[in-house]
């Protein structure tokens, strides 16, 4: 099993003729991902590393039966590319692009809603179901197939944690970087639900950061709806207080976004929180 992607995922790369698009298309294919095509308006008919290029997502889906796409397009075109993917029939869109205006992200998420398309990102390193498929820029070699699901707001910190898991013998079912932007697609709760329903996954690691109250909301959800064990790590325990952000941020959140509050929320519902990445394998609650 695994969630969101596996060996059957048919992946296209939006912006495949760009430097990053071409590089990661090849890298994903090397990992074993079924990369069936790419898009670049006006370059339909060309090939990039042997992968066929189409003018539009619609055409790419029609010709290749793609169900998953990953974007390597400049930030200011990313929201439109997300909408194109959704409109073209893609079921899962992974947006790596960094620096997408938040209101654009909000609009594209609303656009996707009617089509039922799922979004990972933007500003996400993507996701990987080890041994099956990688749709993202994560370094495939540190992952190992197994039973731990992982959800993270972070990039390299995720690799650090994965490294500790793999070193300790804990393989992973699927690992997802949800993206660090103020508004992103799939978040903790949607992904926790999927892991709860995934037979391969036996435990989940959640990597959070200071800011917002998503971790607190995840803790509430875990208490109510998760039967599988969850362990957490929060980055930013010692981060300095940031800049003034007005009253609105405080009013909208249940807390102030500090690590202490998040840790407290997790511990209150029985989710152990690691003090350092090394500690995580000890806390995940399943035996090897």
């Amino acid at each position: 099993m695994s969630i969101l992607i596996d060996k059957n995922s048919r992946v296209i790369v939006q912006g495949i003729t760009g430097r990053d698009g071409a590089f990661h298309a090849a890298s994903m294919r090397e990992y074993g991902t079924n990369v069936v095509g790419g898009t670049s308006p006006g370059k339909g008919g060309q090939f990039v590393n042997g992968i066929p290029v189409f003018d539009s997502v619609e055409k790419a889906v029609r010709e290749t039966g793609a169900d998953t796409s990953i974007l390597f397009v400049p930030a200011r075109f990313a929201a439109d590319a997300i909408c194109e993917a959704s409109d073209g029939g893609i079921e899962l869109v992974v947006a790596v692009s960094e620096g997408v205006p938040t209101l654009d992200v909000i609009k594209s998420i609303k656009f996707m809603e009617s089509g039922g398309t799922k979004l990972i990102g933007p500003n996400s390193p993507g996701l990987i179901s080890p041994g099956k498929a990688k749709v993202g820029i994560l370094p495939g070699n540190i992952f190992k197939e197994g039973t731990v699901g992982l959800i993270s707001r972070s990039g390299t910190l995720t690799y650090e944690v994965i490294n500790e898991l793999t070193r300790s013998g804990f393989g992973q079912s699927t690992c997802i970087g949800i993206g660090g932007d103020p508004v992103v697609g799939l978040h903790y709760i949607e992904l926790l639900t999927m892991f709860e329903n995934d037979p391969q996954t036996e435990a989940v690691v959640l990597i959070g950061e200071i800011g917002g109250d998503a971790e607190e909301k995840a803790a509430e959800f875990i208490e109510k709806s998760m039967t599988k064990p969850v362990a957490a790590f929060i980055a930013g325990r010692t981060a300095p207080p940031g800049k003034r952000m007005g009253h609105a941020g405080a009013i909208i959140s249940s807390g102030s976004g500090t690590a202490a509050e998040k840790i407290e929320a997790f511990e209150r519902v029985g989710v152990p929180v690691a003090k350092e990445p090394e500690e995580i394998p000890k806390l995940i609650g399943v035996k090897l």
């Binding site: 205006p101 994560l138 370094p139 910190l157 660090g180 508004v183 325990r237 800049k243």
Partner: protein, 411 residues
């Protein structure tokens, strides 16, 4: 003919006598807030005015004489507010009332040149004080949970709004706006009816809500607040204060807003670093950190603290592995005399360890470095990186825990 196509009206402004208000501080944390450009109250009010949101007069003065002049054309009671890009102006004495020329002069003399959180007051905003019946809060911000723009309003506006939010959250109406339709008439009216009670005031309030949302969206704001929106004794609603932050990612669409950017001395280094693709925040410890990725950088700082050390900075070199960037990062890092040891923590992914190693060698050549450097390289091309650094003085370790412990021992 063309004039008609510009669909926005500039509304009338309301003048009258009375009380001003103070606004309290709120400290936020984390990396997101650093990405939100701020502008002055008077600039936000200028934008409000363009969108037809009623504001009190918006006379900006740069000298005491200008303030005195502004008093002369006032109705006898003015508010003088320091314009600096931090909160807490009221508490710091940066907001004063004046009911005659002498008071105006004294207030202006006191405020100009005043230091508020390290910033010197160079401009003040002067307007006729208003006769206030009631204060309301209105705020708009992007909301992670609902994935939408959230409108928040409260009849308990003014300085205590956050206490209200904590103690009586039911007194704050939150409304998630669907970007496909914006804030629709009936929604604005129904919210305003709950907020203002009286239908006549509610109709005016609904107009302000709709214009504020339009302003928020058109300007790619990340935070827009009126606190307080005041109801005057004449039954008019006026935005007594104005706060706007902007989504840095969208500033390319708003060159005129970008042009308003003022860099505080504290931020100069950060901005300089950002220009070079680095994310840098100065702190007051002794261990200089260089990490790739913001999350890992925060985790590294946490680890140093956990083991009893003190980080000198937050420095994220980001995802690319241009050796030149590494040289710059070292330069910025070592410009802080407090730094007694450098800890480098790299988990290669997009960033290649051999590139980092090459950059470090280059830095060692170009910069005179007298402090010890502890380095942990893992991930993409770690082996090659370590080989490149084999002949150097750098202290190579295998895990971030080990790196932190070693660095602390060398302080």
């Amino acid at each position: 003919m063309v004039a008609l196509f510009i669909g926005l009206n500039v509304s009338r402004t309301a003048f009258s006598k009375s009380v001003y208000h103070l606004s309290i501080e709120y400290k936020s944390i984390g990396k997101e807030s650093a990405k939100k450009m701020k502008i002055h109250e008077y600039q936000a009010k200028e934008i409000f005015k363009f969108f037809g949101i009623p504001i009190p007069g918006n006379t900006v003065c740069a000298t005491v004489e200008e303030v005195v002049e502004a008093y002369r054309s006032s109705n006898g009671l003015i508010a003088i507010k320091a314009q600096v890009l931090v909160g807490g102006r009221g508490k710091a004495g940066g907001v004063k009332l004046a009911k005659n020329i002498d008071e105006a002069r004294d207030a202006a003399e006191a405020i100009f040149g005043m230091q508020i959180k390290g910033l010197t007051v160079e401009k003040v905003l002067v307007y006729n004080a208003l006769d206030i019946d009631k204060e309301f809060y209105i705020g708009l911000t992007n909301d992670r949970n609902t994935k939408s723009v959230m409108l928040m309003v409260s009849a308990e506006g003014g300085i205590e709004i956050e206490q209200v939010a904590k103690k009586s959250p039911e007194k704050i109406i939150k409304f998630s706006i669907d970007p496909r339709f914006g804030l629709m008439d009936f929604q604005a009216r129904n919210i305003a009816l709950k907020l203002f009670g009286d239908i006549k005031i509610a109709r005016k309030g609904a107009e302000i809500l709709k214009k504020l949302y339009r302003c928020y969206v058109d300007m790619d704001s990340s935070l827009t607040e009126i606190n307080p929106l005041v109801l005057t004794s004449e039954g008019e609603l006026v935005a007594l204060d104005a706060k706007m932050n902007f989504d840095d990612n969208a500033l390319y669409r708003h060159p005129d807003i970008e042009a308003l950017r003022e860099v505080t001395p504290d931020e100069e280094e950060e901005i300089e670093a950002k220009r070079k693709g680095l994310s840098f925040i100065k702190l007051d410890g002794e261990i200089g950190c260089m990490v790739n990725g913001a999350g890992l950088a925060m985790a590294t700082m946490d680890l140093i603290k956990l083991y009893g050390g003190n980080p000198a900075n937050f420095l994220d070199i980001g995802g690319s592995s241009n050796p030149e960037k590494i040289v710059e990062a070292m330069r910025i890092l070592l410009s802080d005399d407090n730094v007694k040891v450098v800890m480098i923590n790299i988990f290669g992914g997009i960033t290649r360890c051999d590139d980092v190693a090459r950059g470090l060698l280059e830095a060692l050549k170009r910069i005179s470095i007298t402090v010890p450097i502890v380095i942990r390289l893992t991930g993409t091309n770690a082996k090659e990186g370590k080989e490149i650094l084999a002949g150097s003085d750098l202290i190579n370790v295998d895990s971030m825990g080990e790196a932190a412990r070693k660095a602390i021992s060398l302080v």
